[in-house]
């Protein structure tokens, strides 16, 4: 079978799997976040009572340990404070853990992590970015990996889901100042969604050959007579949540291209599935919770449309590289695993950059200039197609607010989305949201390319060098975490700057989103009439997709022109 045909089959298989899973998973999540603690009636659906209603016993333990009243709901400032406080504590804990790992068990003789790197890594994992300025197997002991990084893989994804659910409740509810309880949402996201899924996924990964042990590694004698160190570790368990939670922080430096993390093509494809499954299911949850599944379908339609277009373009750009001879040999093969091949590499690269995951099974730096520009542009979309776990949904909903505002005016009404009027306050919050990442990306890049400290990390000059810096700041600000190699980012400058970009890129939008949710929940709901802008039809899907592209295009066109575009057209 030719590599192209295999590529088509892989995509088809992936689509079928996602379509099959998004319904039950989306419905399940809607149930998880609407039962008991929340006053919304549980959406109709399978009447199975396999699982107990109300709080689970393990959840009660958590609430008691944290000391929260799980049955009371929070107003938006309290919800927001809970998100921020939890994240701050997480950063501090993770930082400390790295700094003292040499005194703790399972350190495997790793030294304390440098302060700059420790800060960067702490922020990186708490913000769901998983930018890794370090090399995993030679820096982090198993305890940090398991009790620090893997835990953050779960909770940072949980935070994203919680914030998205809070925004959805803003749309779904009316006349209330309560958004739900952050601690309940976070806990349930982990106990009822992430942990069960990750467990199943880890088993599959182990079956597929991903390593899972607590060994500090083995020295092996190779056939050629050399000695090779084979690092072991709890890889599969971490790998599962790395993809499911759109985290992307690899156990090994080579990430999913490493044979112990991504042993085969089908495991690689399974990983793509894992990282797409929750972001593509959340719109269904959204539709369910606002009581109109078509709304969720429209959102997922925009996400899928953008993702498909991006994948098609990237695959095309990669496949046509280098003239006839090279194309016969598989076109752009530099930086790729021959085990996966071109199409699967393009698929993985597209999926990982579109979901704020940042895991890689090939090196984006080695893509063709156009291919590299596309994975870069994927992140510039703001991680909304389908985006990170939770963050993709809330990002897309905020863009939908902007799209509805302009389009709503064009139908002659003060704009409303899902019955909520978009007035001065709502637009202030949405506008600021749109502003955050471009400011971070562009100012970060601008500072880096004119300062000596910034330039000293560049291994390439010219357009490609610019692309590497642009990629780094885009990746950090959008909480993706993947990197164009070729930039030595483990320097005080980049650790600090990218750390700040990650923190602001994660929490400023969250502040705005939770505030927006609060504003929306207080409002009543305007009835739908023939004069209301329909937000579930193909026309709106196209419009929203166009708005996403226009916002991104207009913002990043000049920077892209000087970076990958100049390289591609050279």
């Amino acid at each position: 079978m030719s590599s192209t045909a295999a590529g088509w089959l892989q995509v088809a298989l992936l689509v079928v799997a996602l379509v099959a899973v998004h319904k039950p998973l989306g419905d399940w999540m809607a149930r998880v976040f609407t039962t008991d603690a929340a006053p919304d009636p549980a959406p109709e659906g399978p009447k199975s009572r396999l699982l107990p209603r109300g709080h689970w016993r393990v959840e009660r333990l958590v609430y008691r340990a944290v000391g929260v009243d799980a049955d009371s709901e929070q107003r938006w400032p309290v919800y927001l404070r809970s998100v921020l406080a939890f994240s701050l504590v997480s950063v501090l804990f993770l930082y400390l853990l790295q700094r003292v790992q040499q005194w703790l068990p399972l350190d495997h003789e790793m030294a304390a992590v440098e302060p700059g790197s420790a800060w960067n890594t702490a922020v990186s994992f708490v913000t769901n970015t998983n930018w890794q300025g370090y090399s995993g197997e030679s820096t982090m002991g198993h305890l940090v990996q398991m009790a620090g990084l893997a835990v953050q893989n779960f909770v940072s994804a949980g935070v994203g889901i919680a914030v998205a659910i809070a925004l959805v409740r803003g749309f779904a509810r009316s006349g209330t100042d309560r958004l739900g309880n952050f601690w309940v949402d976070l806990t349930r996201a982990i106990t009822r969604v992430l942990l069960p899924l990750a467990t199943v996924a880890a088993v599959v990964l182990v079956l597929g050959g991903v390593v899972q042990n607590l060994s500090s590694g083995t020295d092996a004698n190779t056939l050629a007579g050399a000695t090779q160190f084979l690092p072991g570790g709890p890889v599969a368990s971490q790998e599962a949540i790395k993809e499911l939670g759109t985290n992307g922080g690899g156990f090994y430096n080579a990430n999913s291209a490493h044979p112990f993390e991504g042993p085969s093509a089908w495991i690689s494809l399974f990983q793509v599935f894992l990282l797409l499954v929750i972001p593509f299911s959340l719109p269904r949850t959204f539709g369910r919770m606002v009581g109109d599944r078509r709304q969720g379908l429209a959102i997922v339609g925009v996400m899928a449309g953008l993702a498909t277009a991006s994948l098609a373009l990237t695959s095309w750009a990669q496949a046509r590289a280098g003239g006839a001879a090279l194309q016969l040999a598989g076109a752009a093969t530099e930086g790729q695993e021959v085990r996966f091949g071109g199409p699967l590499s393009a698929l993985f690269g597209t999926a990982t950059t579109l979901t704020s995951t940042g895991a890689v099974n090939s090196m984006h730096d080695s893509y063709t200039p156009t291919g590299g520009m596309l994975v870069l542009a994927n992140m510039m979309l703001g991680e909304v197609a389908p985006g990170g776990v939770g963050s993709g949904l809330y990002g897309m909903l905020v863009l939908a607010v902007v799209a509805v505002f302009v389009a709503g005016l064009m139908v002659g009404r003060t704009p409303e989305y899902l019955g909520k009027k978009l007035g001065r306050r709502e637009m202030t919050l949405a506008s600021l949201y749109v502003l955050v990442t471009p400011v971070l990306v562009l100012t970060g890049t601008a500072i880096a390319v004119v300062t000596d400290t910034g330039l000293s990390s560049l291994l390439n000059s010219g357009s490609h060098g610019l692309s590497e810096v642009l990629y780094a700041f885009t990746s950090a600000s959008n909480n993706n975490g993947s990197a164009f190699a070729g930039l030595s980012a483990n320097t005080p400058f980049y650790n600090t700057a990218l750390g700040l970009a990650m923190a602001f890129g994660r929490f400023l939008p969250i502040v705005l989103v939770v505030a927006l949710a609060g504003r929306l929940a207080v409002q009543g709901k305007a009835p739908v009439t023939a004069g209301t802008l329909p937000t579930h039809q193909p026309l709106f899907v196209g419009l929203l997709g166009a708005v996403v592209l226009v916002v991104v295009g207009l913002t990043y066109f000049p920077a892209l022109a000087l970076g990958p575009l100049a390289e591609a057209l050279a």
């Binding site: 005016l409 064009m410 001065r424 357009s463 009835p527 009439t529 166009a546 207009l554 000049p558």
Partner: protein
């Protein structure tokens, strides 16, 4: 000015002639120069940024003179001027009307009850003044004694005098109007400087214009876009320096101005002023811009039956023959019986006979007209040939026939019941001749729905607006008329309390309600409605309670008000879309101009094949300035509005202003480039 609104079949007063004048650019430009004061411009962030850019580029042109530098600086100033001119033009349109109103205000003397003269400026609410024929009423108030005909043309533009009398719903008078006959005593209700005319002047001049909620929200979005583009360009320079393609400050300023949404930013306030102005042209005064926006959002229209949906009086709609008479016989008799009847119903019978049966008026010199009395409940005529024709209420006419031992055809009962069931009023027609009487037929009188209203309500339904008819009729009659007119719902036997309750019920479901009213007992409902249009003939209380006043007192206008509100929002949205869509072409013009020198490959982006980097940048700036001027008429007139479903409207406007906004600047910039490249030092 030809908008869809002008071509309505429903009678609406023509916009005032002086309002339809062409745009006067001369005074507008003078106004534009005055508006260059940056303190005023801060309110419009987009224009303010262009102003700052103009100042900078001028300084640069002075310190480092070049043809390019001066041209860019010049066109940036023109951009600011054009933006200011757009606002000045819109404001100028209200000025003429304000001047007319000011003349009306120049009443200086008022006469108190005791004959004392006081300056009109000293009148306080509660004081009573006497106004006699020929005098101008010194202030707003209610007539508390007497009746007079009043010329209100100073305010309404309508020359026919109106009657104002004490008590009831026609007691309100407006300061500045003239008493034509008789003597009235007016109790003043407004403070000096806060009279109706004062408010009108402030409104039409735009002096009291406050930015509306939606305008503020849009301004926030535009400001945020402006900030994004500022950041894009500010950070572009370091990237350019890194790439070895450092740009001149003039070029960067030009890029910023081209990217920020100058088109909509420049036209935004003109659109708002023009929206109010369009209402003024239709003789509607909105007390706030908020009300105009709310009009676009209305979900439910409460319409009074009489005068809005139906003509004022019942009219004959058909003659039904009974007992074997022929239709022509009935028509002939009906006409004869009504020729001398001057009531509207009587006239309508004559009209129907003429239109349907070709019967002309006849000379009835020696006939004796029998007028309607409360006792007989019939009217008719005694002809010279001895025939006696009578028409009237079924019971009365039947009694008259029976009294003369006349037969009553069996089908009379069915016909009469049928007409009643359909909401109409049956008039029985009978003849007595030579001692025998018989019933000829039945005249069907009914409420006549105004021409074109059914189509209008169908349009409203497509726009997602529900119509509710308010009437004092009983439920059955009301339903029948509602069905004929295509009204969605009725509120029959309505009391003011019912109206208020209905509005509150609609609003509790999140709907916005619009209504008209004139009586004092309408005031609570007018105040409760989101859009409350008070009739100018109405009471002061009604006018105070509503947020709009219709000077023509035409309740049908509510529909136009809704359309004007929608048109205002559509204009904003369409021009915003257009403005942002323009940016694509500008990037394709400016980016290759900036960087193709260092990266020759980027010349591939120069799809317009512009002649030189300087001419490319200049052409984009010129296009950006000229498009503002080109769109001023559209901003003032409003984009064309056709009632349609939201999807249809969105599709149309997206195509026109979104896709059009992408394509047009490619053409425009190319054309300008062809001209600009002729300038020495640019090509």
């Amino acid at each position: 000015m030809t908008t869809a609104l002008d071509r309505r079949p429903v009678s609406t007063p023509e916009p005032r002639p002086q309002q339809r004048a062409a745009i006067e650019w001369g005074p507008a430009l003078a106004g534009a120069v005055r508006k260059l004061d940056p303190r005023g411009l801060v309110r419009q962030p987009v224009v303010f940024v262009v102003w700052v850019g103009s100042v900078f580029s001028t300084v640069l042109a002075i310190t480092d003179p070049s043809v390019f530098g001066w041209l860019i600086a010049g066109w940036l100033w023109l951009t600011v001027l054009f933006a200011n001119a757009a606002e000045a033009v819109a404001e100028g349109r209200g000025k003429a009307q304000a001047d007319t109103l000011r003349k009306a205000r120049q009443t200086t003397v008022a006469y108190l009850l005791d004959g004392a003269e006081v300056p009109a400026a000293d009148l306080r609410p509660g004081m009573r003044v006497v106004v006699v024929a020929g005098q101008v009423i010194p202030g707003d108030g209610d007539v508390v004694e007497g009746i007079a005909s009043v010329d209100e043309s100073a305010i309404t533009g309508e020359s026919a005098p109106v009657i104002r009398e004490s008590g009831g719903d026609r007691s309100a008078v407006t300061g500045g109007t003239t008493v034509l006959s008789d003597r009235i005593v007016v109790e003043i209700t407004s403070k000096p400087g806060e009279t109706f005319v004062d408010r009108m002047i402030a409104l039409v001049e735009g002096a009291s214009r406050q930015r509306t909620p939606n305008e503020i929200a849009l301004n926030i979005l535009l400001s945020s876009l402006t900030i994004v583009f500022l950041i894009v360009v500010i950070t572009l320079q370091p990237l350019a320096v890194y790439s070895g393609a450092e740009q001149s400050l003039t070029t960067l300023i030009a890029l910023v101005v081209c990217l920020i949404p100058t088109t909509i930013g420049a036209l935004l306030s003109a659109i708002g002023i023009a929206g109010m102005d369009r209402l003024v042209q239709r003789n509607v005064l909105a007390m706030s811009g908020r009300a105009v926006e709310a009009a676009g959002d209305v979900n439910t229209l409460l319409l009074d039956k009489t005068g809005t949906i139906t003509l004022g009086n019942r009219q004959a709609s058909e003659f039904v023959a009974v007992g074997g008479c022929s239709d022509d016989e009935v028509a002939d008799a009906a006409q004869l019986a009504s020729l001398a009847d001057e009531t509207p119903e009587g006239r309508s019978i004559v009209v129907l006979a003429k239109e349907r049966y070709g019967l002309r008026g006849r000379d009835l010199e020696s006939a004796v007209f029998v007028p309607f009395t409360a006792q007989t409940r019939m009217s008719g005529v005694d002809l010279p040939d001895g025939r006696q024709l009578r028409k009237g209420a079924a019971g009365a006419v039947l009694a008259w026939v029976r009294a003369q031992d006349g037969p009553v055809p069996a089908d009379v009962g069915d016909v009469v019941d049928g007409i009643s069931a359909a909401g109409g009023t049956p008039l029985l027609l009978a003849v007595a001749h030579g001692g025998s009487a018989r019933v000829l037929g039945v005249i069907h009188l009914k409420d006549v729905v105004k021409e074109g209203m059914a189509e209008r309500f169908a349009e409203l339904r497509r726009m997602g607006i529900r119509t509710v008819m308010i009437t004092g009729d009983n439920e059955r009659t009301a339903r029948a008329i509602a069905t004929e007119a295509g009204i969605d719902d009725v509120l029959a036997e309505a009391t003011p309390e019912d109206k208020l309750a209905l509005i509150q019920r609609e609003q509790s479901g999140g709907r916005l309600v619009a209504m008209t009213g004139d009586g004092t007992n309408d005031a609570p409902a007018l105040a409760q409605a989101d859009v409350g249009v008070a009739m100018n003939t109405g009471t002061t209380a009604a006018k105070e309670a509503g947020n709009m006043v219709d000077l023509d007192s035409d309740p049908t206008k509510l529909i136009e008000i809704v359309e004007i509100g929608k048109q205002l929002l559509i204009t904003r949205g369409s021009l915003t879309t257009f403005s942002i869509a323009n940016d694509l072409a500008k990037y394709f013009a400016i980016l290759p101009a900036m960087f193709a020198g260092v990266f020759p490959g980027l010349d591939a982006l120069n799809v317009m094949r512009l002649s030189s980097p300087e001419s490319a940048i200049l052409s984009a700036v010129v296009f950006n300035a000229l498009i503002i001027v080109a769109l001023v008429p559209l901003a003032l007139r409003g984009v064309r509005y056709r009632p349609a479903s939201a999807s249809a409207m969105l599709r149309r406007n997206l195509l026109l202003y979104g896709v059009g906004g992408v394509v047009l600047p490619f053409v425009g910039i190319k054309l300008i480039d062809l001209l600009v490249s002729l300038i020495p030092g640019i090509a």
